[in-house]
Amino acid sequence: MQNTAQVVLLLVVLTDLAILGTSRLSSCIRGLATQGLLLGLLPVLIAPQLSVHAVSLAVGTVAVKAVALPWFLAWAIREAAVRREVEPLIGFIASQLLGALALALAFAIASRLPLPAAQQPLLVPVSLATLMIGFIVLTTRRKALTQVVGYLILENGVYLFGLTQTESVPFLIELGVLLDIFVGVFIMGIVVFHINREFDSLDATRLTELTD
C-alpha cells in the first residue's frame, strides 16, 4: 500500500505540472478531474486498515472533486464558449519554471517540519507543492475560470495535508469542508457566468473599474 500511495502522490504532482503548462481550458479541467480521482484513492491507500470513515471519505471526495466540480466547470466553459487561455501574466514557460521552483521549495520546507514516522513521507511535500502551484495558477492566469481551477488545486493541496490528520478530523467535518468547497465553486461559477454575460469575456484583467 505504501508504494501505491507513493506512486499516486507522484502522479498528483504530475497533474499539477500538466495543468500549469497547458493553455486549453478543457485540458485543465480534465487534469483537475484526474487529480480528484487520485485524491479520492489516497484515503483508502493511506489508512492503516480499511474503515468506514476512509471509504466514505474516498467516495465523497471522488464524487465532489472528480465528478461534480469538473462537470460543473465544463458546463461553465460551454456557457461562456471559451476554449483557450490567453497568454498568462508571466508566460507559460515562466509558470512552469515557477512550478518547478515551488516543488523544490515544498520539499525543502517539508524536510524541516517533523512528522511521525508512520506517515507517508511524500504526503507533506506534495501537499505544499500542490498548494503553491495552485496559488501560482490562481494569481497568474487571466481567465476567471482558470482562476477557479487554481483555487481548486490550492484546496486539493490543503486536503492532501488534511489526510495526515484523518484521525483528528471527524468525518462530519470533512463532509462540511467538501460541501463548503462545492458551494463555493458553485457560487464562483454563477459569478463567472454573469461576468461573461456582462463583459462578454472571461478576462479577469478587465475587472479594473473599481480602484483607488
Binding site: Q6, L10, G21, I93, Q96, G99, A100, L103, A104, F107
Partner: protein, 303 residues
C-alpha cells in the same frame, strides 16, 4: 572492455539505419499506408555513396568537414555507452559530460556547415536548431544529474549499468521520470514529431532537414547515417534507464538492448502517428516540461 561490449558496438553500427526505418514503417502502418521497407535507408545510403558530390562555390572547408566531424563525434560518443549493461569500452569519471559535449560538437559542426553555405534557409534552420538545443542541453544534464544521484556513480557505465539495476527498487519513481524526460529529449534532439516533422517537404517548416539541404552524395550519406546513429544512441539511453540489464548474461543483455531499441522505435512511430507537430513557439514549453520532470526526479533523490 568486454568482448560483448565491442560486439554490441559493431552490431549497433550495422543496425542503426534500421531504426528510422522501423519508425517510418510503424507510422505508415498506423496511418493506414504500407510505407517504405524497413531497410530503405540502407538502399539510400548505398545509392548516395555511389553518387558524386557537388559543392557550392560559396562553401569552404567547414562545409566539407561538417559531416565527417558529425560522424566521428557520434562514433566516439557511442564508445562511452555501456551497451552490454555493465561497462563501456571507454569509461572515466565524468564521461557523461564528455558524452553531452560530443553530441554538442556534432551539432555545432553541422550547424556551421549549414551556415557556411550562405543560404537563408540553412541559416533559419540553424537558428531554430540551436534554440531548441539551448533548452535540450540543460534537460539532458538534469537527467544525468538525477541518474548520478540515484546511482551514486559518476560515470556513464555506472549510471546506466550495474548500480542502476540496484537503484531501481528504491529510486523507481525518479528513474521513471528520467526515462520519460529522456524520451522527450530523444524526440527533440532527433527532430521527430512533435518537435520537427521529418517528412515535411516545405523548407520553412523544417528544422533539421533544412540545415543539410545543400549536402549531396557521400556527405549526405554520412549525415543520414549519423542521424540514424544519433537516434540509436538516444534509444540506447532510454532503454538502459528503463531496462537495467546488469543482471543478465552478456549475449542476453545485448539482445535485450536491441529488442528494447526496436520497442523504442515503435514507440516513436506511435507518437509520430498520433501527434501533430507543435508550433515552434511551443517547443520550448515542451522541453521545459521535460526539464521539470527531470528536476522533480532530482528533488526526489535529494531527500
Amino acid at each position: 572492455m568486454s568482448g560483448n561490449g565491442l560486439v554490441a558496438l559493431v552490431i549497433l553500427g550495422v543496425v542503426a539505419p534500421a531504426v528510422p526505418g522501423i519508425v517510418v514503417k510503424t507510422k505508415s502502418l498506423l496511418t493506414g499506408r504500407r510505407g517504405p521497407p524497413v531497410l530503405q535507408l540502407y538502399a539510400d545510403l548505398g545509392k548516395l555513396f555511389r553518387k558524386g558530390t557537388v559543392y557550392s562555390r560559396t562553401t569552404t572547408w567547414v562545409f566539407r568537414a561538417g559531416p565527417v566531424v558529425v560522424l566521428a563525434s557520434l562514433i566516439v560518443a557511442s564508445l562511452l555507452l555501456p551497451l552490454d549493461g555493465r561497462a563501456a569500452p571507454a569509461r572515466f569519471v565524468g564521461d557523461w559530460v564528455a558524452f553531452a559535449g560530443l553530441l554538442a560538437l556534432g551539432r555545432f559542426a553541422l550547424v556551421l556547415a549549414g551556415l557556411d553555405t550562405g543560404s537563408s534557409f540553412e541559416g533559419m534552420g540553424a537558428s531554430r536548431e540551436v534554440t531548441i538545443a539551448s533548452f535540450a542541453e540543460p534537460t539532458l544534464f538534469l537527467c544525468f544529474l538525477a541518474l548520478v544521484l540515484s546511482t551514486g556513480d559518476l560515470s556513464l557505465s555506472g549510471m546506466l549499468g550495474t548500480p542502476l539495476a540496484a537503484a531501481w527498487p528504491r529510486a523507481g519513481a525518479s528513474l521513471s521520470l528520467v526515462g520519460i524526460s529522456l524520451f522527450v529529449l530523444l524526440l527533440a534532439e532527433n527532430s521527430r514529431v512533435p518537435v520537427d516533422d521529418p517528412a515535411t517537404h516545405l523548407e520553412l517548416t523544417m528544422i533539421h532537414e533544412v540545415i543539410v539541404l545543400d549536402h549531396s552524395g557521400r556527405d549526405l550519406a554520412l549525415i543520414l547515417y549519423g542521424s540514424a546513429l544519433k537516434l540509436a544512441l538516444f534509444g540506447v539511453l532510454v532503454v538502459s534507464v528503463f531496462v537495467p540489464r546488469a543482471g543478465f548474461s552478456g549475449p542476453l543483455a545485448v539482445g535485450l538492448l536491441f529488442l528494447g531499441l526496436g520497442v523504442v522505435a515503435v514507440a516513436i512511430g506511435l507518437v509520430e502517428a498520433v501527434m501533430a507537430r507543435l508550433r515552434l513557439a511551443r517547443v520550448p514549453q515542451l522541453l521545459v516540461g521535460a526539464a521539470g520532470l527531470a528536476l522533480f526526479a532530482t528533488i526526489l533523490q535529494l531527500q
